[in-house]
Subunit: 353 residues, 4 copies
């Protein structure tokens, strides 16, 4: 229980300042030749220290596969993997052991469990997502080659990439540090993040993800709807505050006459406000969705807070933190979407006699 996925499942473990993160992928089909570079590529896009606008912490984030792969191919048995924490021992965290940092999970973990590993946020650290990137990058390789899953930063604070995704050149996403394919917008975003960083502040934003060439038929009719599985995955990301797909919240302002996607004779649709999903099942059009991220809670400024006894204290983030998680969250969104799709893809093999 509380694994990720339905048939293809991921269990994970790890705390920010523990020995290692890692996971187990169950029910991965046999016979896939793994592209290890593709996995490392996504890990590198997620890792700290990759550019001036993300945390300067250093982790090599190399994954070690411990089982389930033999002579480069999956064997169908559980895939165990490990990412060692290299940077976990240097700090003394005693001073925060009893502090409740604003908008962090210190208080809620204590309320729930009565105990927590407070070093670097422990289990609540977003470093957990390193596991998801490994699993998602493997899962991606299960999908038909033609399926493209592409995420990009579509807003930072109040700077929005105004162009619809159809007008963007996705090959430009990694051409800048913020991972927005529109260069002009990207520049503004980067300036904004630098400015925010200078203030010791942080900023939120949104990521848009587009899935192209997904065959029709993926997703389940009642409790495994494609959009519900995606929403659950995305809202599992530490800073995520919202999810919308297709017309999303904007669609809520429309009328049926304007919102309905009329069919062409080849079963494509003239518009795609549905976001590629009808009745929980993909229809062959692009699936696209948007995820909202709050600003990182750790700011490098003094904030009033309380300790576990309710005493007033001052907390102040120190050292190396992300002023904006968006650039690093791009591969996380892609990875989770990949895992959701691979799981539903496999399941779809069993849905007809």
């Amino acid at each position: 229980m509380f694994n990720f996925g339905n048939f293809l499942t991921l269990s994970t473990f790890g705390e920010s300042h523990g020995i290692a993160f890692g996971g187990i992928i169950n029910n991965f089909p046999a016979g896939l030749e793994i592209d290890f570079e593709a996995v490392q590529y996504q890990l590198d896009r997620r890792k700290p220290g990759q550019s001036a606008i993300v945390t300067q912490r250093k982790e090599s984030d190399t994954v070690k596969f411990l089982s389930g792969i033999f002579e480069g191919k999956t064997t169908g048995t559980p895939i165990g993997f490990l990412i060692e924490n290299e940077n976990q021992k240097s700090k003394d965290y005693d001073h925060i052991s009893t502090a409740y940092r604003p908008s962090h999970a210190d208080f809620t973990y204590d309320q729930k469990f009565g105990i927590r590993d407070y070093r670097g946020g422990g289990k609540s650290s977003a470093r957990e997502t390193v596991n998801w990137v490994v699993a998602g990058s493997l899962a991606k390789q299960l999908l038909p080659k033609k399926v493209e899953i592409t995420a990009y930063v579509s807003s930072v604070g109040d700077i929005f990439c105004e162009k619809p995704y159809q007008e963007l050149d996705f090959s430009k996403i990694d051409s800048n540090n913020v991972r927005c394919p529109d260069s002009a917008t990207a520049e503004k975003m980067i300036s904004k993040i630098k400015e925010i960083k200078k203030e010791g502040n942080t900023i939120g934003g949104t990521i848009t993800c587009v899935i192209k060439n997904l065959p029709a038929g993926i997703g389940e009719p009642v409790f495994g709807k494609l959009q519900a599985e995606l929403a659950k995955a995305m809202l599992s990301i530490n800073a995520a505050k919202g999810f919308e797909y297709g017309s999303g919240f904007c669609g809520a302002t429309m009328t049926g006459k304007d919102h309905n996607d009329l069919f062409n004779e080849n079963f494509t649709t003239q518009t795609n406000l549905s976001g590629g999903v009808q009745g929980g099942i993909s229809n062959g059009m692009d699936v696209y969705f948007r995820v909202a991220f709050k600003p990182v809670a750790t700011i490098l400024r003094p904030q009033k807070s309380v300790d576990k006894d309710g005493n007033s204290i001052i907390v102040e983030g120190k050292g190396r933190h992300d002023p904006c998680v968006l650039p690093r969250a791009v591969p996380i969104v892609e990875s989770l979407a990949s895992f959701v799709l691979a799981d539903l893809f496999l399941i779809n093999r069993m849905r007809r006699i």
Copy 2:
């Protein structure tokens, strides 16, 4: 697989024009004296024909409990229930058996399954939600009495209830047909829906849901985050297009300094942009979220479409349909939220030795 819930689970069945809907709730604790009227109350708020702005179809929507309840109390064994379809035989659906209605699931079901019950949308009909209301209304009774789960219509088309939920009098929600607690806004919404209905058109909107007095500690740290479970539940509703909680998409435009919720000395927070959840776990503040609904796809106007062979056809909704699902979706949102919470509540009993 593909049940609803983790420990407390719901399996359901039923098609729009089949014999009955129904479900089985597993692992419901023993010894609860069921308030059957509370269940019927929510069913009545969901049922068709209840007011001038919803479909005029007639269904009594009475639930029959078949097991798991003895002398008015739950026995801890599976609760089976049934809601018979009363209105299912009158229509001849042959004319739509091969039609693909725009923004309906006709095409995707055919793509996935190669067969479908086309009568009234079959399994893709939102009549499925009648099961959820039964299950959610029972689940609600598992929660501490003080926990209040209240949903209301916060927008219809471009008419928004501008007041924050804190300023609204929730006792007014059912005082009007649209279920918006602000009377002035409600009137505008009702007029809008009537106008839209006259045009044979439909309209979308949003529902806001507020959970008060939820104890801290509910929700799981990694893959069972409270917000992720709620998002999955809400995106399972047939017309839902988006979900946000706390500051939501708006929070994505903010900075950390402004977004962080500072603690008071009693561990409440001065603001609640977190939406009552930190690290996936409730913190004792109000949990609130918003769900976007697209306009109903069935409009009473001719639309160009195709049949399953790709031939151009005209489809036109006839008879009794909802111009706006929002008023009837209010109890659905409440019920799903109740089920999610009851499930996580029970699970929380096992999280400490």
Copy 3:
């Protein structure tokens, strides 16, 4: 949780003297033309009143499918079904409401739940198995036609069918009331049961089940081993006390040299002490197993017992009870085995890229 099956899942409900039994099968593939007579055939083999050596209670045990089947074919959506209790109202059970019958579940249900439906054993009644026969009979139809799943009574008390299954003519199983294919043994068994019945006593026995023509590759390597899934299923039957497959307990007395099944050049094996399974996965040879059933706990003789307050009482079964469940358990064993196999069969479709 606590459904039956992994991917193909069955949820059930019902109490002995409730309104109905029923269930929901999830993830049944679309497009199967259902042989309803095959389902009823197995129900008839399980039903009470079918012969002189089983309970004389009368139930027509006809199943009503409520969803998931359209124009005779499965649609891929949940299959809901119902078997109404016809015989549930006649009796007054007040006198046993506080009695704890020996070797029944009255006491344990009270200990666990603090409440129970005491009428006819309530949820602990083996009438639950009617659901399993429906589900298993449908599941059987998912398997390749050549797969034969045959159970028979291999012992009643100390009367054993001495011949190995290979020497038996399975077409004779239903030629007698006890469902033992060896006529001479069957006669002895029947006499034994009649004699036991006359004494108001009951008797146990074993059922052997043989699965022929199962392709190699079915079953999972670690926690979904074919034998483990079968064992779990069989030990879920109300009176089951043991399970062994292949050489079973007898194999525990052997040496490796004698026990190993040597391969022929076509990959069949010269012996089959493995019981058709190696490493949890079928090898193409016959899968066979044996299930032990205790004697029915309800005997028509006075027994000393206690009530819920610990007072000494006398209980005495009255009316119509099975002197021996074995004949009626044959279709139950076949049905559960069918469901296990269909589930693992579907899953096997996903185990290679």
Copy 4:
């Protein structure tokens, strides 16, 4: 899917000659002070090389906990652990890469997956059980201290420990290498195993497990019956061929009059043929069961076999193998039983309001 457990779950990975074995335990309650020595104690009882009658292979089998434990206490978050393989690199396995060893899983893995790690049996190796011992030893610590779970070797080949378990002194179990508490029988067993070993042969046997002081109420009424969960667990052990509890197969020869366990006024029963379980739920009496193990398939003698192309070959086990797995299986049986009970124990907390 295909994890072990229902609420408390274990995922595992590892191959015989891979880098490491390991696992993740989900939903372990917070706040338990771990007795690490108790874990290592059971690992030592399972490990190779511990006595003259088991394999002489050397592995230290020390477990490394990677997460979920902080300052010696569980935190409620996933527990990741690792057992490194120390002995995996020395051998050249090329000669068996295409061989199908009799009664091993080489053939079935190939049939299922089309690929396998053939070194030392790969995933089908019983070394997987090292994971189960870790998890079970932790799970044991969740149970009330008074619950005693004790397994012992009750037969080796045709040498049976004739005394009922009630007459045995469990403190003697580890006083001899075979783990049979009756010294005279133990000596015979040890001689038998030594003799068998000299012949390069192997031998099977049975293990009896007794659970004392288990409170009433543990186990679920329909698909999570205590005996079914235990049966599934035990039949997951690599060489297990059968499971019986209480009167077991012997009970199948009895009559109801003799088999029924009459209640005493304090709700204990005069006899315990039920094996401590009625209706799937513990009744407070001893739970006891017996597991049959086949002889190890690897024998140090030439056997005729085939390779993957169906060519006739000779295979011959070499080096260090167990002549009898029974002594090392004792802690495995205890560990799996512990995990099953801890899982059902936690779940039982949620079964009443």
